[in-house]
Amino acid sequence: MTPLAFILVLVSESCSAAGQIFFKHAMSGREGNTGLKLTAGVVVKALGFFLWVGLLSKFDLSYLYPFDGLNRVVLMFAASIFLKEKMTLNLWVGVGLICAGVLLVSRS
């Protein structure tokens, strides 16, 4: 996988994760503009989706799909940056396993 393709995978996964969070906030009825949050959710989700379809046209499904595990890594880092959540040992182990797995797959 080229560096560009890898960056696009990361962007696609980040868009997908961000979309989920926008949807969640829109549905929970917290303060703020619900319509705006929903629209933002749809836009980033769609961007993630079309990037993913574009990537699928280039790579095997069994090659690309494991990269979906990075979704969790993105969410973890988002939580530690925006919420100052502590990264527990368990999380580091999981993130390490996912990254090692993705690295192996990328070389297959």
């Binding site: 549905m27 574009g54 396993l97 192996l104």
Partner: protein, 144 residues
């Protein structure tokens, strides 16, 4: 990838599901996982047939497979949200990890992709990682 964020939004288990195998929450989780894998297979078929542009797959919309994938994705989401009303979150999330296994199997059986030892080991590591973070991720996500 079942929609993780909506999960925390659901009320805790209240009441009983309707009777019958179809309405059994575990049937619905199974359905959601299978449809999730089907989504990826449909999207792959559609992308393979149609995408000509370099990185953004808008052209995929010309393929019926991609539309089928979108339908499967939405149906999977509804099954997932339904089952979350009745099934404890940690069980649901652990079952959802099965998609990581089902997709490569479907890639092999349906799409005829070859999965070598390196790729199989990588998939196993990702799966182990997904299970390791499943529980703490659920808690963190509720706050995001």
């Amino acid at each position: 990838m079942p929609e993780v964020a909506e999960a925390s939004n659901e009320p805790p288990a209240i009441g009983k599901p309707r009777k019958g195998l179809f309405f059994n929450p575990y049937t619905q989780i199974g359905l959601s996982i299978v449809l999730e894998a089907a989504t990826e297979v449909f999207l792959k078929k559609g992308a393979h047939d149609s995408v000509t542009q370099i990185w953004l797959g808008f052209d995929g919309l010309r393929s019926g497979w991609v539309w089928l994938g979108i339908i499967a994705m939405v149906t999977s989401l509804f099954s997932w949200l339904y089952s979350l009303k009745y099934v404890p979150l940690n069980i649901a999330f652990n079952l959802a990890g099965l998609v990581q296994v089902l997709v490569p199997i479907a890639s092999w059986l349906i799409l005829g992709e070859r999965i070598g030892l390196t790729r199989a080991c990588g998939i196993a590591l990702v799966l182990a990682g997904v299970y390791t973070v499943a529980r703490p991720l659920m808690k963190v996500e509720e706050k995001l």
